[in-house]
Symmetry: C2
Subunit: 327 residues, 2 copies
């Protein structure tokens, strides 16, 4: 069986790390892929006026899964509609530290399960009068239920004990109130244990005692911030993969952006992108191969060549070759 | 000249740390205070049905300044209206590490200038249909201008070089767009240097390299989360004071809450509350006295008795007595 994978490198280091991930997938041999490349981002916008051409949407919609690199200024114009195209309701963002790598908190292993469709990402903004603008933050019971069910199932399937529901229901009483109450109802239906945490207090606790957290179910923007916070704990965005999961389709992307400061130098850390490819393998049911890719990345992080963001001076290519060697 | 100070201890450890701050202020001798105590929080709600009685509002409104401890379940019902009663538009939250104290990042010295009136704190929420709720996030040019002017002035007056404007204008284009564009206009008028940062990326950078930041101007909820994050970097909420500043009036409170887990044991760390009293002294124009209080707190943190949250076993009273001794 051949899996059609849409490959959207995008801008900046997306152009460097995406081919790295593709070459790791190609090196597996036990899985058949057909890669279909598509354009998105600043460069294609400059050419065509559109950051996300219809053809790219169609390719992502039709593929079995999508690998996305990064986009520059147009990031929001690319990734938000792409999440929609693949019908993604859950954004899965594992943040873990690795043996042998400098980290602010070397004992971190947390998976953020971020609601991926609503909250302040609704796109509904208005100018009421000159100088007064509003944004309509949307929270629905359906989306809250979907993300909570996904989060509790994920925790169970992956053997995680501690589930935390993040919210700010003391201030956003109706909207986060609904999010919280729905997530608690899901926990009760499953007989699952959980904690709840105000997202501000949680930010502090994650910094001080990340080892106390396993799976954190979050509203959209809270998940955006908390997962980046956790990236800081483990050594930066160069290490964090993510999966945008829908009912059938899914899109995989590193949490990092296009990093214009180092783009074109061939020194971008491919780890986050390769780990995103491992999540793609999980998604397609190739657990064994996903494990091999993760182990290879981990082995290289521990004792292989390192890119400058991790204190080394190796190139993207050298690190990728080392990962392929370890497979 | 006698300064009338409203004192609202509230619930839990608020009842323990507020008297500590009052006794430090009383020990100064060079400033005349009249303290007027008022009730707010869970306990008064249980008695009277109201978490924030009208009498307490009136006392805070009439006083020269207010010292507030903490409230429990009713925290939002107490502190949000109180911020409004004193006309506070700016929430000033310094987060710094202290020599000799364990900290995740021992080189942190950042002041968050948090917009204190709008954003998702508007209180405007609706149930559109069953299971679909909205919150109206409000951003105005006036409030954005007020907080930016305050922030840039604060940086200048306190000798801070780096001002960062936090936002999420790539997603909240109109609302945070207005916040950002207004703050940039203020910077331009003043000829001030600044950086801008997406709040998610900023969360990561604050964790990894807090030493690169001085003053961070934030929308309301971003300031709430980022300042708690920074509390985690410097050793916890027991160290962070805050000022809610209005045109004339102001309210001073620790960033921590009522800490029900340790309430009543007499072991709460009074530092955040005493440092909030130092901010009150600044506000009233007693810079020298404010400096004395800060130096005393710092001396005790470095080599005096410590409460359990800082690894010691001293009581609130013992730490307070040590601070008074150092004055
Ligand atoms: C680029 C931006 C729209 C996006 C988001 O806010 O979701 C990014 O920060 C992310 O986390 O993937
Ligand atoms: C209690 C709550 C309403 C409050 C806030 O969100 O402002 C608190 O978290 C704070 O930071 O003072």
């Amino acid at each position: 069986m051949t899996h059609e994978i849409a490959v959207i490198p995008g801008d900046g280091i997306g152009q460097e790390v995406t081919p790295a991930a593709v070459s790791v997938l190609e090196a597996l041999e036990t899985v058949d892929f057909e890669f279909v490349e598509a354009a998105a981002g600043d460069a294609v916008k400059a050419e065509t006026g559109e950051a996300l051409p219809q053809e790219t949407r169609d390719i992502a919609a039709d593929a079995d899964a999508t690998l996305f690199g990064a986009a520059g200024e147009t990031a929001a114009d690319v990734i938000l509609p792409l999440r929609d195209v693949v019908g993604s309701f859950a954004n899965v963002r594992p943040a873990r530290s690795y043996p042998g790598l400098d980290a602010v908190q070397p004992d971190t292993d947390i998976v953020f399960i971020r609601e991926n469709t609503e909250g302040v990402y609704s796109g509904i903004e208005n100018e009421i009068v000159d100088g007064v603008r509003t944004l309509t933050r949307v929270v629905t019971e359906d989306a809250s239920r979907d993300i909570a069910e996904f989060g509790f199932d994920y925790a169970k399937q992956n053997g995680y004990d501690d589930v935390t529901i993040a919210h700010k229901a003391n201030v956003m009483r109706e909207t986060d109130g609904l999010f919280l109450e729905t997530a608690e109802a899901v926990a009760a239906e499953r007989g699952a244990d959980y904690d709840t945490a105000l997202m501000d207090a949680l930010a502090m606790h994650l910094v001080m005692t990340p080892e106390e957290y396993d799976v954190v179910i979050c509203p959209n923007l809270a998940g955006d911030m908390l997962s980046d916070l956790a990236a800081g704990l483990v050594g930066g965005l160069g290490l964090l993969p993510s999966a945008n999961v829908g009912e059938e389709n899914a899109l995989f992307e590193p949490v990092h952006g296009s990093a214009p400061d180092i783009a074109g130098e061939g020194i971008a850390n491919p780890s986050a992108m390769v780990l995103s490819a491992a999540m793609l393998l999980d998604h397609l049911g190739y657990d064994e191969e996903a494990g091999r890719v993760r182990d290879a990345v981990e082995a290289v992080l521990e004792s292989g060549p390192r890119t400058p963001d991790l204190g080394g001076d190796a190139s993207t290519e050298a690190v990728t070759a080392a990962i392929v060697d370890e497979l």
